[in-house]
Amino acid sequence: MAELVVLEAHHIIKRFPGVVALKGVTFDLRPGEVHALCGENGAGKSTLIKVLSGIHPYGSYEGDVLLGGEIAEMRTVKDAELLGIAVIYQELASVPEMTVAENIFLGREPTRLGIIDRLKMEDEARKLLRRFGIEINPDLTMRDLGVGHQQLVEIVKALAKNGRVLILDEPTAALSESEVQILLQILRDLKTQGVSCIYISHKLDEVLAIADRITILRDGQSITTMEAARATKSEIIRHMVGREIQDLFPRRQTKPGEPMLTVRNLSVQGPPGATGLRNISFEVRAGEVLGIGGLMGAGRSELLMHLFGAWGKRISGSVDLAGEKLPTITPDRAISDGIVLVSEDRKRYGLVLEKSVGFNLSLSSLDRMSRMGLIDPTGEHAENQRMFDSLRIKARDMEALVGKLSGGNQQKVVLGKALMTRPRVVFLDEPTRGIDVGAKVEVYQLVNRLTDAGQAVVLVSSELPELLGMTDRILMLHAGEVGGTFVRGEADQEKLLAAALGQAIGSLEGKEQA
């Protein structure tokens, strides 16, 4: 019994009308093991999880799921929970108005004579949090926590149900570096307690740091399972895409032209409770990519949102667009002036999910496609089709609902909508968050295409390699202020991190304001 197995998926086939999502997936999970699933978006990871967690009920797929050697007939999520399988999804499922303790015990509140025993609940919650080394006050409401801490609470909530198998779907997509470390430490502790994890992530560094074994899915098939200790990043990527990607960051530099966007001494007051922005100056030239980095809450997204007219009140400072003063604006004015924003939260700020791909693509460009308010359907369709083809959006056709597409393809629709406005300045806020390696490279290629065409790009990213690899200059923010500015080639991860922490060493601040 050397190879004891907790959970086994044996040649799972899952068909949907018109598509076979899983074409034979086999893998097994050992006790106390972290088993990573890697694959591009649409490779079948989500479908597999749904099979393992009872969302696709027993009988709707072919092949067997074995738990402790017996066939598991999970017809509902509840069945799976009873068998000890808990899933933590990318999207949070907590109640923002309730406290941390209430969320952890939601649906299983400890009661005395039918009345919730609040003291006991808070005490238990505190113990649980302490056990996993998380410093969160259980009396706080979820709303008061950052996304990262909310995610940690979600995990504690799942573990409180005494799960044997924990499935984590992109758990770190919204976490900061320190939160990621806490999460990985929790998973290591769980291993010693015999809990097994299925870990899904696009961040290969994390996967290599935490996983014992890695199974690669591609096109609905399990391609290979390897020991993480012996695996390399490039090997994983090769299996994922089916061929080698030579260059993860294919930045092609172009000669910068005229200044497109000039920001001088900008100070902005945010809504109550939010950090404002103080005395920020920078410049982006045509054909140039400016990277903006910083820790969570440093004001990266807020800066973009403000320049786009969707956040905060300007206290002082000036913004020039191609040499002309840009007044305080609204998003619709910004777009007609040639500034466009691709938000980090595509479901919230990017897409009308229940509408079609075409509806979303043209939404920002209808002015140009209309005569006296009437939309010209032929013109609209032609532009949509061109964008659809050039971005290689994978959908049945332009009338497919955007909400049904995979994350990478949804992101392409958001990008397509932005590009269709024919912008001069493009703000990209975390454009590669939660999308797979192949789609990432496509986004980077797109950045090159934009700068080749003389457009200016501002790229916000929390991944330092992306900032170093894809930008020409980097502006690091720290608590709403400039922590340092760097030119490509002069920066490295340590310098950037120091600037993000407010300890700028190699700062070149002021140099560009000539």
Binding site: F16, P17, G18, V19, V20, A21, K23, G42, T47, D219, V241, G242, R243, Q246, D247, P250, F308, A310, T330, P331, D332, A334, I335, S336, L341, S343, Y349, G350, L351, V352, L353, E354, K355, F359, L363, S364, L366, S370, G373, L374, I375, P377, T378, Q385, K394, R396, D397, M398, E399, A400, L401, G403, K404, L405, S406, N409, G438, V441, E442, Q445
Partner: protein, 397 residues
Amino acid sequence: MTTVSPTEPAPEMLPYAGPPAQQRGVALRNFSMTIALVAIWLFFGVADPAFLGPRNLSNLAVELSITAVLSLGMLLIIVPGHIDLSIGSGVGLFGGIVAVLIFNRSWPAPVAMALTTVIAVAVWLGMGALIVRQRIPAFIITLAGLLIFKGLHWRVIGSQTIPIQIGAAPNLVSLLTTWFLPPLAGFALMAAVWAVIAWSEVRSRQRRISFGLSVDTREVMISRLVLWAQGLLLFVLVCTQYRGIPLSAVILGAVAVAVYVISQHTRFGRYLYAIGGNEEAALISGVPVNKVVIAAFGIMGLLTALGGFMQTAYAGSSTTTIGQLLELDAIAACVIGGTSLKGGRGTVLGVIFGSLIMASLLNGMTLMAISPEVKFIARGAVLALAVWMDVKLAAKT
């Protein structure tokens, strides 16, 4: 993009489970609504054969026109995710103002109508501005409007009964519900309507084919056009048995075409659906959200005034009960017709169909002299049932 394999096979797509489920939901709704309408007509037809007589059907057409004109306005409010509870009181108020101007002040009807319409649009634009700029929920603002307009209505008419015309002399307002198209003109109009429908069906089909989009088979399109022809022909035949096609039905047709074009073929209409689907994304996409919502309320004001003229003309005079609860009929008609109260979804044809169900119910109950108590209860039950169905079907899609 040379580094990544460019031609990935179809399974790269997420399992495509969308439209089938949605179509099932829509089909189920259409089916059950048709059954409901047939059941209502059968029930009243058996209970009182006069229900299906030409005279009553002609009345029904007028009543449908009033309900549907208001419901179409409501569609433009609900699609971006708002609600208007004040239109019933508005109908009373604007009918009252016109009646007073004509009967007490002897104003020419067209002038009175024009002035009242301007007031209505201005007031509704104001409500819309309050809702979006001050961030007060539409529910509250229009609930306040319901009370305020009702009070103003009663003040304007002095809680009296004010006729819409002096003596028996017809005017533009009274003609709204008493003038009928002569038979020949009726036939010609319906033929023209059918021709326009057929032309747009064929053109849109050709366009979809040239775009490479899926289309219905030729047979389905032809049978749909035959159905239209039968419906229109039946309508004009029934109408000519009485006094011809009522002017109000022609007005409804015009309003329906206008709202259809606005909702499906204009930038403004797209924006309404985008706001209802995801307001934050719409804003970031450059949709002038505030302006669009205010404009939708402006159109609602215009249609409220029109509905007020028609309803008051149909009653012959402005009284304190004119317009009462019409807002709820309009909301029910929208929801029955497949408009989502959460916003983002709803069609003109659906709303007209929903209006037909509501108007048939009320007409039938009035014909059978059912007591007002029971009528209230029935209206409430239908409203609750419609919203329940909306919730049920929304969960499915």
